[in-house]
């Protein structure tokens, strides 16, 4: 190998020494131009101080302890030498064209984004199913507490015993048609809110407004079946997994957690999570239809409820909230109408009266 001129820094004095380098028996021989002093670096020990890009000198060092640095201005001259070392990877000192690398990594990014988008909901299911029942129930209690704190208001809960028994009977009848591990616990909150909610672990919360506005027990049964669907499919738990995963991925993606970036990723997480929750609503509807059919409860009650909701959409704030994450009510009404086959009642008139008077 021919001799190449380079610059050497010994790490003791900040003085640049002109040297000549060449390979001699698996060693890189560094010879000082001034006094012919010689230092040998085993070629296998050679490391680059950094990746070399176009127009940049090749800078070499030996081990972590050796402070010496060798700078070769003409990188091409040491190409053969670098190839002899086992430690060095060619792509670290001879990069491919920038466009090629850019196209490759943009493609990879596209694949990764699709993988996360599609994969997260798929991954959330098995992860959520690994959560023990005890944890889910604890989580559910916490969520229930939050709901109480947020919208429970001064009305408190409705504890009419007969009504409560009727609701429990209905829920057990609906839930009994599916395989699951939950014990359903119903709470009725004395509030005008026209809504119901399912917390993980079998906690179902009904607001009095929903009972008041229901045209009959069948409509209420439909909404309850929908909420049971959320519980059985573990949507609440899955949602927590999804949001945690999504925010973890989005916020670590760029490695930047500063204020501006943090806020904008939070908004993105929120929007994507909304999209996921619409899928969950559709799934819960499907299960509700199946339960209503298996218990032979009329679907017409739920259909008319949704039609009524559609006419009121947006005009009342309670309803607005109910609809914000739910699919379009008219579409839902049409789908339920075409798929339900039940013909019987959800409960006796006596029971329905007991439910309606629970809060009095």
């Amino acid at each position: 190998m021919e001799k190449i001129s380079a610059t050497y820094f010994d790490g003791e004095l900040g003085i640049a020494s002109s040297v000549t380098i060449q390979s001699v028996d698996h060693n890189l021989r560094i010879q000082f131009d001034s006094d012919r002093h010689i230092i040998d670096w085993p070629i296998d020990d050679l490391r680059l101080t950094e990746e070399v890009h176009k127009g940049q000198p090749v800078r070499l060092r030996r081990s972590r302890q050796d402070p010496g640095r060798l700078v070769v201005e003409d990188g091409r001259a040491v190409d053969d030498l670098l190839r002899m070392s086992r430690r060095l990877r060619r792509r670290d000192y001879r990069h491919r064209a920038a466009t090629k690398r850019a196209v490759f990594w943009v493609g990879m990014l596209g694949l990764a984004v699709v993988a996360v988008w599609r994969g997260l909901p798929l991954a959330a299911e098995p992860i959520a199913s690994m959560v023990p029942l005890k944890w889910e129930e604890a989580l559910g209690r916490a969520v229930k507490k939050q709901v109480f704190l947020l919208i429970g208001g001064k009305g408190g809960t409705c504890d009419g015993v007969a009504g409560h028994r009727a609701l429990t009977r209905l829920v057990d009848r609906l839930g009994g048609t599916m395989k699951h591990r939950y014990t359903f616990r119903i709470t009725v909150i004395n509030s005008d809110f026209v809504n119901a909610a399912a917390a993980p672990g079998g906690y179902i919360i009904i607001f009095r407004g929903l009972i008041d506005k229901s045209t009959g027990p069948e409509a209420l049964a439909g909404v309850l079946a929908h909420e049971i669907g959320h519980v059985i499919e573990r949507h609440g738990t899955e949602n927590i997994v999804k949001i945690l995963g999504l925010s973890a991925i989005l916020s670590t993606m760029t490695g930047n957690t500063s204020g501006v970036v943090g806020e904008s990723t939070a908004i993105a997480t929120n929007l994507i999570a909304k999209g996921y929750s619409r899928d969950a609503e559709r799934e819960a509807d499907e299960i509700a239809i199946r339960m209503l059919n298996r218990t032979n409860i009329k679907g017409a009650g739920l259909v008319s409820f949704f039609q009524w909701v559609a006419t009121k959409q947006g005009s009342s704030q309670g309803l607005g909230a109910y609809l914000s994450t739910h699919p379009d009510s008219m579409t839902r009404a049409a789908r339920i109408k075409s798929r339900t086959t039940g013909t019987g009642p959800a409960m006796s008139d006596q029971e329905w009266q007991a439910v309606k008077s629970m809060c009095r």
């Binding site: 101080t49 940049q56 920038a98 850019a102 990764a112 507490k145 500063s258 204020g259 908004i267 704030q317």
Partner: protein
Amino acid sequence: MAVSHLDEQENFSDIPKGPKTATAKPVPTDRPELVYDGKASEILILFLTNVVLNILTLGFYRFWGKTRIRRYIWSHMRVGDDRFEYCGTGLEIFVSFMIILVVFYAPFIGLVTWMTVDPPYDTPQANIIMLNLVFLVGFLIIFFLYYVAIFAAYRYRVSRTIWRGLRGNMWGSPWIYGCIGAGLGMLNVLSLGWTKPWADAVVFRYRMQRAGMGDAPFLSRMGCGGMYVPYLVAWMITAVVVVAAYSVLISLIVGELQAGRPPSKEQLAWIQYANLFGYLLILLAWQLASPWYKKVMMHNIAGTLRFRGGGFRAGFTTGQLYWLKIPNFLLLLFTLGLAFPYTIHRTAKFTARHISIGNDVDIFGLRRGEADGPRFGDGLAEFVGIGGL
């Protein structure tokens, strides 16, 4: 070119300030100059690689990715013909990150989760008070650690910087800096920001005074002279925006909510977005109002810094700083941080173009310094929101 603002001109008798001094003392040909010759495209590719690998590794690649970008930037920054070298490793940062994760972060998250999922007390009030107490203590610790992290990150980077075979050095303790920084930070809050220019000068001087290259220390005589007028202008503008934004927000929220009715999900979301928007507006207002102050401060930092008998100087105008800061801010905001590498590139270019080294700085007679630098990396920065680069 107009002569820029300089606080202590007597330090600069040897640096050419205009045609007059330049003719009196000709610039030697080997005058060391700070040069940055990196390409935006290369940093973007490095960053893209990081994003993909971060997604695949759930974010754990970021320590190595960050190291690669630092190496790129350091090696494309040079003084004269001599490039800087960054000799830190991803592993060092990873180890420090894991230590803090295990010792501090995981127990804290565990405690909060336990208190929410399985409340330890019988009454809800007691639980809420305890949880808030835990959050308050956590916040105070983070507030303190934020300043510790600044110093630790700074020390790590300086100690992993090599130039002409010599390492940078940093003395002083991150914990002491944390106490000073957190104390002054509290003072700034209590004084509604009126002590900030002085506090800024104190912390910068502390950091500058404790840095060195090889065996030679940097000296700083930084004070807050000249910084108050531009600060007050920035303060007033931001204060007006804060008051205006929040009075509009609060009146909107009060108008929207009907008395006695609980807020609906939509309204809660709406309030959340409005709050976020207000926060961004205030950030933007500060970005728009503060460049004059920042210019004066940076000129002050450079102008009072001495190294081996010479000085430094920052030569940019407020307008030039605007052109650096505002596009950087907007780019980050609208790309979810994907434009981050480009903002780094712009900042590096800006720094090299506008910071000049006086030709009386004797940079070639340095020797190896004493300190070895910290063993671990700057993983703490990840926890307090300053882990960008």
